[in-house]
């Protein structure tokens, strides 16, 4: 990597191409076109008298147009430059993306119609490798100097870009399918969010039941309450799902019927063990897993408590 740094450092201070004279002198039509587009109504850009009243010899160009005078237009640019070499070097090391980060302009005087600027571009600095929000990369700062025909610097622009290695896109993991929550079973899922494993109990005959339902299958009472399960149980039966795979789950996926020590059974997953080591009768304990902000479910891990 230090080889790259050395190679990058060699670009510092290098002038990019010969000084380039603007295609056109500063002129009123381009100023008006700019002021229309930006909707800038400052009269010193549009009205000779107003410009004079404010200390200018006549109409002046908006200072922020500085770079516009040096643009090469639709015809584009010519020739390879040191900057092309620098960017290619960074490309070849994986820093293939570019974003402009800073633009600092300084105006020594306002330009007037008839001024024709000549631009010199220097690679001022190439940073060490930096970690940024976009990825790892190098900042490249160029200095543009704009001179009039008398050779006086009328403005400067420091322009900084970040050449960076784009981070591989991380696809957000699809969410687990939502359970079908009804008025009859909502209490069970709400309790799971609080890391509570509930078992529904008939308020009349005291029989436990799962999955939740409105009526006791033994005595047909509609009255019920709940008890807290200990979370201890054993694997009653299981399958290992290899295919088809749904992206929300990890495979191989152990889908098991767990018999709780209270006697009811529920369908869940067995985690924390290789699928081929799972056995019927194996003791397991509940562990609550928050899959996302909305869904927390008990999963079962081999163990006695």
């Amino acid at each position: 990597m230090s080889e790259l740094i050395d190679a990058l450092r060699a670009f510092e201070g290098r002038v990019i191409g010969p000084p380039t004279r603007a295609l056109d002198a500063v002129n009123e039509p381009m100023i008006r076109h700019w002021c229309d587009a930006i909707d800038d109504r400052n009269p010193i850009y549009l009205d000779n008298d107003a410009a004079k009243a404010n200390g200018h010899r006549g109409i002046v160009a908006p200072p922020t147009m500085l770079q516009a005078w040096s643009m090469r237009g639709l015809g584009g640019r010519t020739g390879a430059t040191a900057q092309d070499d620098l960017l290619r070097l960074l490309d070849s090391h994986g820093f293939t993306s570019v974003v402009a980060t800073n633009c600092d302009q300084e105006y020594m005087r306002y330009l007037e119609p008839g001024d024709r600027v000549t631009t010199t571009v220097t690679i001022e600095a190439v940073s060490d490798e930096k970690k940024t929000g976009l990825g790892v990369g190098h900042f490249v700062t160029t200095l543009q100097e704009y001179r009039d025909d008398a050779g006086e610097v009328v403005g400067t622009m420091r322009f900084r870009i970040l050449k960076f290695a784009p981070q591989p896109k991380v696809e957000p993991r699809p969410q687990r399918p939502r359970p079908s929550i009804t008025r009859d079973n909502a209490f069970w899922f709400e309790a799971a969010k609080q890391h509570q494993l509930l078992i529904q109990r008939c308020a009349r005959c005291r029989q436990l039941r799962h999955p939740p339902g409105p009526m006791c299958p033994h005595c047909h009472s509609l009255e019920w309450d709940t008890v807290d399960a200990s979370g201890r149980g054993a694997i009653y039966s299981f399958v290992v799902n290899h295919h088809p795979q749904v992206p929300a789950f990890d495979y191989p996926l152990v889908v098991a019927v767990i018999e709780l020590e209270e006697g009811t059974r529920l369908v869940s997953n067995v985690i924390g063990i290789e699928a081929h080591d799972v056995e019927i009768g194996m003791p397991v304990v509940a562990e609550f897993v928050a899959f996302d902000d909305e869904l927390t479910l008990p999963q079962f891990r081999p163990g006695l408590n």
Binding site: P62, T64, M71, C103, D104
Partner: protein
């Protein structure tokens, strides 16, 4: 109407400015700055290059920052420096809301910190240095 230096105090806020970022505005400002890069006028090519849509070029951002400050300061103000940091792109359909505060006023020079925010975040933040009579 131009502000006089004596009337400006640190902490003064500039009248906010909202720029409706129409497609026409983004194309017109790019061409007015003689910038024909396709990402500023051709949405199909912009998308092929990984952008959501065409977006405003930096020269225009400079132009709006300058206009925002001189709209407030008046025609006798002389801009000396425009230093900006670039952030979220200005895409068509969004709005750039510009706000500014005077952070320094000394020896006839005034610094204004400027922020132009769109729905994605800060498009531009920076400092403009100007001289007032």
């Amino acid at each position: 109407m131009t502000l006089a230096f004596k009337d400006v105090n640190v902490g003064d806020e500039l009248p906010p400015l909202e720029i409706a970022l129409t497609r026409t505005l983004i194309v017109a400002t790019a061409i007015a700055s003689r910038d024909y890069q396709d990402v500023h006028h051709d949405s199909q090519l912009a998308q092929e290059r990984g952008s959501k849509d065409i977006f405003m070029n930096i020269l225009s951002t400079n132009g709006f920052v300058g206009r925002f400050v001189t709209d407030w300061a008046g025609p006798a103000a002389v801009l000396q420096k425009v230093q900006i940091r670039l952030g979220a792109p200005n895409y068509p359909g969004d709005t750039m809301r510009m706000t500014g505060t005077v952070t320094r006023a000394a020896d006839g020079e005034v610094d204004v910190t400027v922020r132009g925010a769109n729905d994605l975040g800060d498009h531009v933040t920076g400092t403009v240095t100007l001289v007032l009579p």
